[in-house]
Amino acid sequence: MTVTLKEMNGKKIMALAGEIDMSASPLLRKELMALVKKKTDPLLIDFENVSYIDSSGIATFVEGLKGMMAFGGKLKLAGMPSGVKEIFSFSKLDRVFEIYGSIDDAINS
């Protein structure tokens, strides 16, 4: 997994690529929680190039969302391929996270 930080229209985007698995999640957590700590709002996550996410990745986003909610910030997940979306849906979390079809939708939201 690789993490790239960008900014578009003044909005911070964390773009992820590759597999978010148990060996990648500690790095994801570090990057994500650093942005949460800085109260980055909104924080957009681009999933377009994510091929796989496991339960450690989902759990890391749960931690991230908890952190965002603590200060009223918005965490927006965007561009999930269907396999990744299915895993979020399976855990019923698709109704808790703000999920957008594409990163542009998330930017314009």
Partner: protein, 264 residues
């Protein structure tokens, strides 16, 4: 179903306990992302086979290819790596009685990953929820029913999001409703996580509910390997006996029986 790719291939597997041959040169394949059920009479070697598939026992000869690597020829270090991809639920659920359910499920994560404990706690609650044990994190195994223990064992088997799940008679000792619930869960795991699942079971309803592919053992040989539809129309006498729930025909002649009980 899409094209079949083999996740596991067994070639000419021979196993013994001491001098006694248990599996006599068997060969079969397990398709990826599907549920394979292993059938066969008591004592025919199903559990023994499963223990070979997870690298717990070494064969006398033959190959066991998991993702194309021959685990029969691997050293312990290589086996440890491949075992992280395998979740196993055996005939006793094998939970550690001195630990809460949460700690039982967290154990493999603490041993094999560098995840923060806060992340692990969330994962543990996700896994327990998946098996219908939300709210039981702080219970000890002794405080659970048999079916709950089984489900807790499954939560632990899934801790590392394995690619493979192996079950040895998961529904033994469960009431029919709980057993059907477990079957549904197995199908969910196959469909959502694309897991390759191998289940030893005697339960006919369960076979028809979960199996995509069936392997039947008898007297140390594979007597049937094929899809569920092929099983239904198979003419093999052992298959017919199983499907029609016919009892074992008499093994002994009256003379042999007399000699056996008389102790000569």
């Amino acid at each position: 179903m899409t094209e079949m790719e083999d996740a596991i291939k067994v070639n000419n597997l021979v196993t013994h306990y001491g001098d006694r041959v248990i599996l006599k040169s068997i060969s079969f394949a397990v398709p990826r992302g599907q549920t394979t059920v292993i059938l066969g009479g008591s004592g025919c070697g199903k559990s023994t086979l499963l223990k070979h598939l997870i690298g717990l026992l070494r064969p006398t000869s033959g190959q066991i290819l998991i993702n194309n690597g021959n685990i029969a020829a691997m050293n312990e270090g290589e086996l440890d790596e491949i075992r992280k991809k395998m979740g196993v639920l055996f005939q006793g659920a094998a939970l550690l009685n001195s630990m809460t359910l949460a700690d039982n499920v967290a154990l493999p994560l603490r041993e094999h990953t560098k995840l923060e404990d806060s992340t692990i706690q969330i994962m543990v609650r996700m896994k327990l929820d998946l098996v219908g044990l939300s709210g039981f994190e702080h219970f000890f195994p002794s405080q659970l029913s048999g079916g709950m223990k089984k489900r807790a064992g499954l939560a632990r088997a899934m801790a590392l999001d394995p690619e493979f799940l192996f079950f040895d008679e998961p529904s033994a000792g469960l009431d029919p409703v709980t057993a059907a619930g477990l079957d549904k869960l197995i199908l969910k795991l196959r469909d959502v996580f694309k897991m390759t699942i191998v289940v030893v079971t005697h339960e006919l309803p369960s076979v028809f509910m979960i199996a995509d592919y069936v392997i039947m053992l008898d007297l140390g040989d594979v007597v049937f390997a094929g899809t569920l539809d092929e099983l239904r129309i198979s003419e093999h006498p052992r298959v017919r006996m199983f499907l029609e729930r016919r009892p074992e025909t008499e093994v002994y002649s009256p003379e042999d029986y007399f000699r056996f009980i008389a102790g000569d």
